[in-house]
């Protein structure tokens, strides 16, 4: 496990919707041990980028590489099974299931023979172990047996991350994990992200600037579908182009 | 098949397709804008046809006055139904919409049975349009069928104008693509819904009324057209006005020429066509709002 190894990269990604260019030759790299944040105004193309990296969208042009393999034409599930986890802006948990079952189901994607209909899924060793692992990493052990629906918003966001982790990913694409969180919850999530980046590569799309500048190792700034800067937080803070284009409006 | 017969068949296909368009249009609009899958839409067609029969005495037998009467009633009916029933369906899941509108079909059919009975009725073609034009050496083409095609075509053009050139049309098109956006633009969504629904009902009722003189009026006539309209809407792309137009014409062609060339398979043909199109384009030929 080499820290600094490039896990996921997008090269010259272009996305056009009819005449509209949503992304214009965007390149990003996510390294192991790195928390890479992407910021930008609404409509800058952050969500499009994350959708292309995760495989939900096929780019008009460009290439996506995951663990040294060209995955541009891979489907989302195939990328997910090969080390790519993602969370969504909105909660995508299963509200009627327990926290454990949420994670176990996510982990089940790795099971080799899913069609064996006579086996009780609850007795599956592999998915249970991975689920517990995800829960532990996300710090939700105390809630393992609770139904997910009634959890607080912050806990649900944590569960979202836990479900990603249960699939044993190398790279995490997190879409606004802090959205709608209170101060205390934010702190807990930031601590969690700090711990996770050791073994993973994390791409974070986030609006909370304070948080981003506190924990990101690298920040990419997007405006109107283009990357205008990609550097350490300190350099970004002083970058004049960023100031006029983005921080200035803030 | 010699050429003149071929042309006549083309005319038949066109006329059938245009009538389908009129009914399917309301279905696709109501779904596209309001997100409601309305199985009872065929019933509106049936109601229209029965209006053409039942209202005729009130209008002194004048077909055109009956039409106006019927349209006014249709708009009122659509408005009331939206208010009393369909407005409760917006937040419901598709399955519940399917079942509730399925229940509505049964209710409409029975109310029809209670009010006008189960007889088959004919509706006379208005004298003004009762002539026919000779085509070929034995065949004549009834003027009324041309009139139906003409009305449908005019309405299609009119709707096209409304959708592309007016503010209401823009709202409707925007609404079928993105409902939240319309709301955020400060448009009175409830009003929009009622207008769309009443228009959809009026279109189906109108189709039923103008079809009545050539189709006669009978129980269960709504169900027959409903399923075929579903096919039209699916092929055209749900919520697409242009799609409904082209799909309806396509179905008209396939049905007409299927009966002549492949009589054994003519019932199945439209469904095979649908399967093929979905294989090629899973969400129909055109996008919503187009």
């Amino acid at each position: 496990m080499n820290q600094g190894e490039v896990l996921l990269s997008g090269q010259n990604i272009t996305q056009r919707w009819g005449g509209l260019v949503a992304l214009d030759k965007v390149s990003v790299e996510i390294e192991r041990g790195e928390l890479h944040a992407v910021i930008g105004t609404n409509g800058a193309g952050k969500s499009t980028l994350i959708n292309i990296l995760s495989g939900e969208l096929k780019p008009t042009e460009g290439q996506v590489t995951l663990l040294d393999q060209d995955v541009t034409h891979w489907s989302q599930p195939r990328r997910a099974r090969n080390g790519l986890g993602r969370s969504y802006q909105r909660n995508t948990i299963f509200p009627d299931f327990s926290v454990f079952e949420n994670c176990r189901l996510a982990a089940q994607a790795q099971v080799q023979r899913p069609w064996v209909w006579w086996n009780n899924s609850q007795k599956c060793q592999l998915s249970s172990t991975n689920a517990r692992n995800g829960i532990r990493l996300a710090g939700l052990e105390a809630f393992s047996d609770q139904v997910a629906g009634p959890l607080s918003h912050g806990q649900k966001r944590q569960l979202e991350v836990a479900m990603c982790l249960a699939t044993n990913p190398q790279v995490l694409l997190l879409d606004e994990p802090l959205a709608g969180m209170g101060a205390e919850e934010t702190e807990r999530m930031l601590a969690l992200l700090g711990q996770l980046k050791a073994g993973h590569g994390i791409l974070l799309v986030e609006h909370d600037m304070d948080a981003v500048f506190r924990i990101a190792d690298r920040i990419t700034v997007m405006v109107n579908g283009s990357v205008i800067a990609s550097d350490t937080p300190d350099n970004i803070r002083t970058n004049p182009a960023v100031q006029t284009a983005y921080l200035g409006d803030h | 098949m010699d050429f003149s017969i071929f042309l006549i068949q083309l005319l038949n296909a066109l006329q059938y397709g245009l009538l389908l368009y009129l009914v399917a249009m309301g279905l696709t609009l109501i779904f596209g804008i309001m997100g409601i899958i309305n199985l009872a839409h065929g019933s509106f067609y049936m109601i229209g046809a029965y209006m053409a029969y039942a209202l005729a005495p009130l209008a002194g037998g004048n077909f055109f006055i009956t039409l106006v009467f019927g349209l006014v009633l249709a708009v009122i009916l659509g408005y009331l139904l939206e208010w009393a029933f369909f407005s409760f369906l917006y937040e419901r899941e598709h399955l519940q919409q399917v079942l509730m509108t399925y229940g509505l079909i049964l209710v409409f059919e029975e109310i029809r049975s209670l009010l006008v009975g189960d007889d088959v009725h004919g509706v006379p073609i208005p004298a003004l349009l009762s002539g026919s034009i000779p085509l070929g050496d034995v065949m004549t083409y009834p003027v009324y069928r041309l009139f139906v095609s003409g009305v449908c075509l005019l309405l299609a053009l009119g709707l096209y104008f409304v959708f592309t050139r007016t503010r209401l049309g823009m709202m409707i098109r925007a609404g079928s693509v993105n409902r939240e956006m319309v709301q955020s633009l400060g448009i009175d969504i409830q009003f929009l819904y009622r207008v769309v629904f009443a228009a959809g009902v009026a279109l189906a009722v109108l189709a039923g009324m103008i079809a009545a003189p050539i189709s006669s009026v009978y129980p269960g006539m709504g169900n027959q057209i409903l399923i075929i309209c579903f096919v039209v809407v699916v092929i055209g792309g749900i919520g697409s006005i242009r799609g409904a137009f082209f799909a309806a014409l396509l179905i008209g062609l396939v049905d007409t020429f299927g009966k002549v060339w492949l009589p054994e398979a003519s019932g199945v043909l439209v469904y095979v066509l649908m399967a093929l199109i979905l294989l090629w384009k899973p969400s129909g030929l055109f996008k919503a709002g187009g």
């Binding site: - | 296909a13 189960d118 004919g122 083409y141 009589p263």
Partner: protein
Amino acid sequence: MKRLQTTLLAAALLGTSAASMAEDAALKVGLMLPATGTYAQLGTAIENGFKLYVDQAGGKLGGRGVEYVKLDDESDPAKATDNINKLIKSDKVDVVVGTVHSGVAAAMAKVAKQTGTLLVVPNAGSAMITGPMCAPNIFRSSFSNRQPGFAMGKVAAEKGYKKVATITWKYGAGEESVGGFKEAFEADGGEVVKELYVPFPNVEFQALLTEIAALKPDAVYSFFAGAGAVKFVKDYKAAGLMDSIPLLGAGFLTDGTLKAQGGDGEGLLTTLHYADELDNETDKAFRKAYSEAFDTVPDVYAVQGFDAAQILDIGLQAAGGDVSKTADIAAAVEATEIDSPRGKFTLSRAHNPIQDIYLREAKGEENVVIGVAVEKLDDPAKGCRL
């Protein structure tokens, strides 16, 4: 041994008393007819006709008072078996009368054959019912689909038509009717140049009318009923074919539909086992009584309902009101000439009417008889092993 004898005697006594009890009790008649859907109107006419006969017979059939159990068959064959089972097993009817839809009637015939329950079919003309499904306890008071078609085939040949096209719905009744027409017409030297079919119950005929115009046959034979008949005749007229290519049809084309056709059916020649202005006293009395009782003019369906009751009455009279004496009932019905408003007819071994098929002409709202197309027409009853 003695004990056994006593037991047997007791059982015999009990048996007879039970039987005589049954004769005294009201005859339960299950009317399994369509009350909803396309055929609802026909169901009503049949029921009216049946009740008219019973009322005229003093409220009795075969000497027993009559009690009705009504059931809507919805013209849905998928529910038919359950429906008739309900009448037989749950409502414990003695006799079942029904129905219009051939598919439903076919399912009913199967159950009747298995259970031995008396069944009178007052409309459905499917060949199956008096063919492979025929049984001593199953009767038909109407017709087989083949009959009117066959008669029209004769008429068409007599009129000197050489090339005829046929058009009907793609379904059992239509195909059997066209089959009958073809059989008679081609036997007499004609040729059916094209058989056109419309998916049932589709009523969009325009394409096939154009096809007919292109074929230019000497005449067209058609089988349609109800709404389809109304629309077909109107379309045929509107296409301008009525004047150039004569339209012939099985009688359903113009029965109960002339008013809705709004004059477009005027002058059409059709064949059927009933007609207006038949010159017989039974019919005159029937029409008068029917009009008075139900405030409407009777049609062929009412006649079929009326005769269904009549057939039951004849059979049950002979059996002393005991529905279980199937052989006696069948023998009596087969031996009797039934005095129907349609004219006198008999039932074949397969229990299908052997009847005169009339040639009729549509005048105003009536199908006026202009002659007998075929006298005492039988049905081959293919597959019947009686």
